[in-house]
């Protein structure tokens, strides 16, 4: 059992959790993730490790309520427990001195991009961050990103805060300005990462993305998370989650992430209408 030592609601559907997991906290590196299972009935879902505190022995994750499991996680509070936490999984992000690195986080994607930006800065890079969200109330980690960036630009789709428009528009502006962008890291919804890659491709700017496909075991055993990278099959859980964005078949991944669309809807309905209270109870 893994105790939640702190919970901070970042927006109405996004929350930050600090979880007691000293061994993982001591080992993890930027870019790695954990897999959690909430209870005996639960599925295994991956979550990026956003930060860790080796002194307190905690790791930080951020989760958005999008389905049954994340919904149930969102209902947990400080002092509650998560049945299983395994990690740190995946390869650490490639951290070295590139020069100027643009770190883009779209929506919840700011969470996985934050630890990479932090490490990249520590490695001597100039960090320009672009964080975007549909609307101001969905924007997360602005202050944290600011702390690890030389420059930060915010964009909202509805114009409620910062630039009115998409993160890609800002990226294009940066590239077209006399700013030499040596590398781009983009994490967010698949269409956003795809759009970022489409912007950087003609300029031949090295672009890394972090993928979040469906996973089961997270150790390379099942192949659920396979993606096509440069025409080759790769397992995100062991070969990733970071890949060269210019080689990723986003179309395919988008389709694969919709594998259980019907089942997810069914599970949500069960949670909301039929067994709602019980589901929450068995968590406690």
């Amino acid at each position: 059992m893994f105790e939640i030592t702190e919970k901070i609601q970042l927006s109405h559907s996004v929350a930050l959790f600090r979880i007691k997991a000293p061994k993982i906290a001591a080992r993890r590196k930027a870019g790695q993730f954990i897999i959690i299972r909430l209870n005996e009935y639960g599925e295994r879902i991956p979550l990026t490790i956003v930060d860790s505190d080796t002194g307190e022995g905690t790791i930080t994750v951020i989760s958005q309520e999008v389905g049954k499991t994340t919904g149930m996680l969102g209902a947990l509070d400080k002092g509650d427990h998560i049945l299983d936490v395994v990690g740190p999984l995946g390869k650490p992000a490639e951290i070295k001195r590139f020069g100027t690195v643009v770190c883009i986080g779209g929506g919840i994607g700011a969470a996985p991009v934050y630890p990479i930006a932090k490490e990249m800065r520590a490695a001597g890079n100039k960090i320009i961050s672009i964080i975007g969200a549909r609307s101001r109330n969905l924007l997360i980690l602005e202050r944290e990103m600011q702390n690890v960036s030389d420059e930060i630009i915010v964009a909202t789709d509805d114009g409620s805060y910062g630039h009115h428009g998409f993160v890609t528009q800002i990226l294009e502006r940066l590239i077209n300005e006399p700013v030499k962008v040596d590398m781009v890291i983009a994490v967010g919804p698949l269409p956003m990462m795809n759009a970022v890659c489409n912007v950087t491709r003609p300029h031949k700017i090295h672009t890394m993305v972090s993928l979040n496909p469906v996973m089961v075991d997270g150790t390379g055993m099942c192949g659920a998370c396979r993606v096509t990278i440069g025409g080759k099959n790769r397992f995100v859980c062991v070969d990733g989650p970071e890949f060269d964005g210019h080689l990723v078949d986003f179309e395919e991944l988008l389709r694969r992430n919709r594998s259980y669309f019907t089942e997810e809807k069914m599970a949500m309905e069960e949670l909301t209408y039929h067994e709602g209270p019980r589901c929450y109870e068995r968590n406690i």
Partner: protein, 474 residues
């Protein structure tokens, strides 16, 4: 009853759930022997002076001794006799290939049918467990030595069993949230009920074996880290869990699974009880399974129970070359699994949403035998045809998982990434590190992994009790 009469009794057959009944549930198919049946079957044993069956068993269970105890009605003692050399009798009684091992060498089999050793093993283990009469052998005083076992599948469990009985402290590190490895995620409930695996693991825990779940060695800790952390030796039994795909077009369409994923979803995550359990699996209308081994049959029989219209096993050779156990193939056939032999997939075809809608196959013919001794299948040009399918399960084998090898650079590996060991001792090229099971062999069987575990445990014992292990002092 005269000696002759008893020896001429027919082989006792376990009764089974009927096919129509069983495809509507996940309960075990054979019911197991009654006490009478067990005694009658055990009487058939000739009590050979030099029993060939024992040497046919990878862990050398003293078969005549335990069958004699069964004849005398001393079932619990029989179970304990087996446990002296095999910690998982209820598992092995069910999933071992007895027909290729102990029963193959049974003298009774020369003229008629061999003694049903597997069914007897299963009976006594079940009897002991169900009667609640499981007792733990006396464990010797702690030797002061600690051993880390990586992976809680059959190899790791056997190593743990042997070493804990010799007075060493054993900690098993398991990547998943339950122990048992392939016994839990791979073999289906209807062939090996999970509560049986749990009970056998409980027995090890009672003897003092510690199990750390959710611990991926190579990630949360390395083998070197374990050795530096006070473990005097380490055993690697991480299995061959890295699914092989066909590398044909359309393999990443929604609905195409590796057998590992499909079986893990259903067995480990209990997707057959979705939405009570949260993990879903696509049930499909027309399911095809590619492969001819036990895993293919396990997948097909699992699929059959998830109520599609049709489940077809597609194998590129003919029925005779199928590596699956005859019993599995028979059970599958009874359950309505269809077979398409001498056929291989060439591509998967998807709809606009990227979901599988059909598979294209080519007919094969057999030519000369290849290195495996089986006749090599070759495609017949122009014989391509399509079959409608919305779920396809690829069950063509596993590569070894490279996690340990990648994080333990000084461990010797073969061309397939498998860990190389001295066959008789399980010793790797790295001091204090031993290995066995599928991580060494590639995909093999439960009992061979256990046999490896047994040999490695003996070497580990020898190693830590001599000057070989001076590294740790905690």
């Amino acid at each position: 009853m005269t000696d002759k009469e008893r020896k001429n009794k027919p082989r006792q057959i376990m009764t089974e759930q009927g096919p129509l009944e069983r495809i509507a549930n996940f309960y075990e198919v054979p019911y197991g022997y009654s006490e009478d049946q067990a005694v009658n079957e055990a009487m058939r044993c000739l009590q050979c002076k030099e029993p060939k069956c024992v040497s046919g068993c990878p862990v050398n269970v003293d078969i005549p001794w335990f069958t004699k105890l069964v004849v005398e009605g001393r079932f619990v003692e029989a179970a304990r006799k087996i446990k002296e050399s095999n910690p998982l009798p209820a598992v092995c009684g069910r999933v071992c290939r007895q027909e290729d091992q102990c029963e193959k060498f049974c003298l009774k089999g020369k003229k008629g049918k061999p003694v049903s050793i597997g069914a007897l093993e299963r009976f006594v283990a079940d009897y002991e467990r169900e009667k609640g009469d499981v007792s733990v052998p006396e464990i010797p005083k702690w030797t002061g030595k600690k051993v880390a076992v990586v992976g809680s599948g059959p190899a790791g469990l056997t190593v743990a069993d042997d070493l804990v009985k010799r007075g060493h402290k054993v900690t098993i590190f398991e990547a998943l949230h339950v122990p048992g490895g392939v016994l839990m995620y791979g073999i289906p409930e209807f062939r090996l009920p999970k509560k049986i695996v749990e009970a056998e693991i409980e027995y090890l825990k009672k003897m003092g074996v510690e199990i750390e779940l959710n611990s991926v060695i190579g990630k949360i800790e390395t083998v070197d880290g374990l050795l530096a952390d006070g473990y005097h030796a380490a055993f690697i039994g991480t299995g061959a869990g890295f699914p092989v795909f066909l590398n044909i077009s359309g393999e990443n369409l929604v609905g195409v699974y590796s057998a590992n994923e499909y079986l893990t979803r259903v067995n480990l995550m209990r997707a057959y009880r979705f939405p009570e359990y949260d993990t879903p699996v696509l049930r499909g209308r027309r399911v095809i399974v590619i492969g001819g081994g036990n895993t293919a049959l396990d997948s097909a029989r699992t699929a059959r129970r998830l109520c599609p219209e049709e489940v077809t096993v597609v194998y590129r050779r003919s029925r005779e070359e199928m590596p699956a156990r005859a019993e599995e193939v028979r059970h599958g056939g009874e359950e309505g699994v269809k077979f398409m032999f001498l056929t291989a997939p060439t591509r998967f075809i998807g709809d606009r949403e990227g979901r599988l809608k059909a598979a294209e196959f080519v007919r094969m013919e057999l030519s000369d035998p290849d290195e495996s001794g089986r006749r090599r299948p070759l495609p017949i040009g122009g014989s391509e045809f399509q079959v409608e399918a919305d779920v396809a399960i690829v069950a063509i084998g596993n590569d070894v998982n490279p996690l340990i090898q990648n994080t333990t650079p000084d461990i010797g590996t073969g061309i397939c990434g498998n860990i190389i060991v001295e066959q008789e001792t399980g010793t790797t090229s790295k001091k204090g590190v031993f290995a066995g099971g599928d991580i060494v062999r590639g995909g093999a069987t439960v009992i061979l992994a256990m046999g490896d575990g047994r040999k490695a445990a003996a070497s580990i014992h020898k190693y830590i009790m001599t000057s070989g292990s001076s590294g740790s002092s905690h």
